[in-house]
């Protein structure tokens, strides 16, 4: 696949006896947004660190535009823009100064430098606060400045590592809009998140990663299609702890149920025939002395795909 911007082949990273990334392979084409979806600790950040040339792979290769990326690569890194999970900026400098600093490290000079800085400040909506120090910004503004630095040099590949963690809904929406706008520029984007809705909204293709392994990959539709006619049904249940536990076991015995995910007050199941499962759940609850206070039936989504593939929820990784 010579036209790939990013090509990861059999990536492995070990930390002593821990295998954090285990044989991960994927590629991203020009203008494509690829989501790496997985719970905390799945290996997303470790994968990104290898892709950005910060971490030496224990095995496998990363190439960007055909050039291998390792911690010793320097020139090839000019094609990459990294937006780390934490705010990696100088808090005592303004957004414009931070942008100038990193843009110069990427080789921008003169009028091109000034023009690009103004452009990205506009994209992330910080033009009117560009001269203020970062430590005077709100959390959301810092996140946006963090993103601006990653794309100031118009990289061929932009890597965003959970860029919306810990931000308010308004800022989160602004960030997602900024990333969404990048797809029109032809930039390849690698986006990691554990928020299913972000992956669904932004990504052309999604790779699901868990325990260091890429367990599924495809468009949202392709991934959901793996569930067949499955539906996610969430029950809110109340009763003695032992009774609820027994009721959850009963659910897993019902016909067409593929997974049962315990929730704090009840359980979520993926199943083929929702009506049949709902009826069976009520019947089992009555026998166990469990009260069902509500039922939500949702169409299959990435959350359900992840649940189906791993037997655990995306958010808590348990």
């Amino acid at each position: 696949m010579a036209d790939l911007v990013l090509d990861c082949r059999d990536l492995v990273r070990r930390f002593d006896s821990l295998v954090a990334v285990d044989g991960v392979s994927f590629g991203i084409g020009p203008g494509e947004t690829y989501g790496l979806l997985g719970p905390n600790g799945a290996g997303k950040t470790t994968t990104i660190s290898m892709v950005a040339g910060l971490l030496e792979p224990s095995g496998g290769t990363v190439t960007v535009l055909g050039q291998e990326i390792t911690p010793r690569s320097t020139t090839a890194k000019g094609a990459i823009g990294l937006v780390p999970q934490d705010i990696a900026l100088y808090p005592d400098l303004s957004a414009r100064e931070n942008l100038t600093f990193f843009a110069k490290l990427q080789g921008l000079r003169g009028s091109e430098l000034a023009t690009r800085i103004d452009e990205v400040l506009d994209i992330v909506g910080l033009a009117d606060r560009a001269g203020d120090k970062i430590d005077t910004y709100s959390g959301g503004m810092k996140r946006r400045a963090n993103i601006a630095v990653g794309m100031v040099h118009q990289p061929t590949l932009l890597i965003l590592d959970e860029p919306t963690v810990g931000v308010d809904p308004q800022s989160r929406n602004a960030i997602l809009e900024s990333v969404d706008a990048l797809s029109t520029t032809g930039m390849a984007v690698l986006y990691t998140t554990h928020y299913m809705e972000e992956a669904e909204r932004l990504c052309d293709r999604i790779g699901i990663i868990d325990s260091g392994k890429l367990i599924a990959e495809g468009t949202r539709e392709e991934l959901v299609a793996r569930l067949g006619d499955s539906t996610a049904v969430t029950f809110r249940a109340d009763g003695p702890v032992e009774a609820v536990r027994g009721w959850r076991d009963d659910l897993s015995q019902l016909r067409t149920v593929s997974t049962v995910q315990p929730q704090e007050y009840g359980a979520t199941v993926t199943c083929g025939h929702a009506s049949e499962v709902v009826a069976g759940a009520f019947s089992a609850a009555e026998k166990r002395g469990v009260t069902i206070g509500g039922v939500d039936v949702t169409a299959p989504d990435l959350e359900a795909v992840f649940l189906s593939l791993t037997g655990k929820a995306l958010r808590d990784g348990s």
Binding site: P71, K77, F102, L105
Partner: protein, 392 residues
């Protein structure tokens, strides 16, 4: 290379925006140079001595006059307590008590008379004033002996004869050829030009440039903590240029600090630094060394607090050991040998060679070689340890 300059420039810019850091870099060393220079700046032209005369006789008065003619400032006291207090406070260098009966004793046949001298044990000029008093006492005794010889020879005790003999003795003593001893202090070849600031400026420069260089490690730790280091490494910037850039920022700042201290020393305090080429080369090498050690500490420490905890005792301790707080000439030979395990001793040796010995770059080549080797070693270790830290 351009990335090294970019990092160096932004580090400098950030540092110059930090008012507390500027105080410790610029204001504090200058203040210390001024204080130390003024404190140990020079030996006063005339030493002062307090005299408490308990004897009303003429010999006591003559002895006091003898002290004044020995180039001492004589201040009269009427109380032993006042005299002792002012000695301890350093208002006068020494105190002299002329006891009751002094004149009678001086005029007696054996001429044995005693005065009591008091000096504070910490006085820097105690030796000098003791020597001056001994000299005045010897002259006084010589004069009294001459009078006694004359009156004994004439076999008279007539006061008019004694006066004439006394006058004659004074004239003879004044016109008598004398044997003088020229004192030369080794290592002080330009003694006439030397003042206290000639020691204070280079030693404080060595001490503070190094200390501030060590504290530069905080910048590196902070850069790691903020994630900026990793972000820089995701650009076309390797670990070497990253460290060089941050170190360069501190190198420039060290250079500014050194230039300021040297300029103040030369322009305000009249220090003659001699060969400015050698001064510049030594200052550049020393600031580079300080920045390199700072980078090493920054690559090893996990927090800024750790950098401070390491740097302050290390900087001050090495400064003490290496002759930045007192001259190595006053310590025993084995301590001088140990001192040269610190770069400070080599730098201070070079400063003495330049300022007191008039050495040029060639004259301090050995010291420059040692300091440069230490700089390269420290920078290499810093790159090694930072690479290890960032790959975790």
């Amino acid at each position: 290379m351009s990335n090294v300059l970019t990092i160096g420039w932004f580090e400098t810019k950030r540092y110059l925006g930090d008012k507390v850091a500027l105080f410790t870099t610029v204001v504090m060393p200058v203040l210390l140079v001024v204080l130390i220079g003024l404190s140990f700046g020079s030996t006063p032209d005339r030493l002062s001595i307090g005299v408490l005369t308990e004897d009303p006789g003429p010999a006591a008065s003559e002895f006091t006059q003898q002290l004044e003619s020995a180039n001492l400032d004589v201040i009269d006291y009427t109380s032993q307590d006042d005299l002792a207090r002012d000695i301890r406070l350093g208002f006068i260098t020494a105190g002299l008590t002329v006891p009751a009966g002094f004149s009678a004793a001086a005029d007696s046949p054996d001429g044995q008379a005693t005065v009591t001298m008091s000096i504070d044990q910490t006085s820097a000029n105690g030796g000098a004033i003791a020597s001056a008093i001994q000299s005045a006492a010897a002259q006084f005794a010589e004069q009294r002996n001459a009078v006694r010889v004359a009156t004994n020879a004439l076999g008279t005790s007539d006061p008019a004869v004694a006066d004439a003999a006394n006058t004659s003795a004074q004239q003879v003593i004044a016109s008598t050829g004398e044997t003088t001893v020229d004192e030369t202090t080794l290592g002080a070849l330009n003694e006439s030009d030397r003042n206290g600031f000639a020691s204070a400026v280079p030693t404080q420069l060595t001490l503070f440039v190094f200390l501030n260089g060590l504290l530069a490690g905080m910048t590196l730790v902070e850069s790691r903590r903020l994630g900026v280091s990793k972000r820089m490494l995701a650009t076309p910037t390797g670990i070497g240029p990253h460290i060089l850039g941050i170190g360069l920022g501190r190198w420039w700042l060290g250079g500014i600090q050194a230039a300021l201290l040297l300029a103040i020393g030369a322009l305000l305090f009249g220090v003659d630094f001699g060969n400015w080429g050698a001064v510049a080369v030594l200052a550049v090498v020393w600031t580079a060394l300080a920045a390199a050690v700072g980078m090493l500490i920054g690559s090893l420490a996990r927090t800024a607090d750790q950098v401070v905890a390491i740097s302050v005792p290390l900087g001050i301790g090495m400064g003490m050991l290496g002759g930045s707080m007192w001259p190595l000439s006053v310590v025993p030979p084995f301590m001088r040998a140990i001192a040269h395990a610190t770069p400070h001793a080599w730098a201070n040796d070079a400063w003495i060679a330049i300022i007191d010995g008039g050495a040029g770059v060639g004259g301090i080549a050995t010291e420059l070689l040692v300091l440069s080797a230490v700089t390269v070693a420290m920078a290499s270790l810093a790159v090694f340890f930072l690479r290890r830290t960032l790959s975790k």
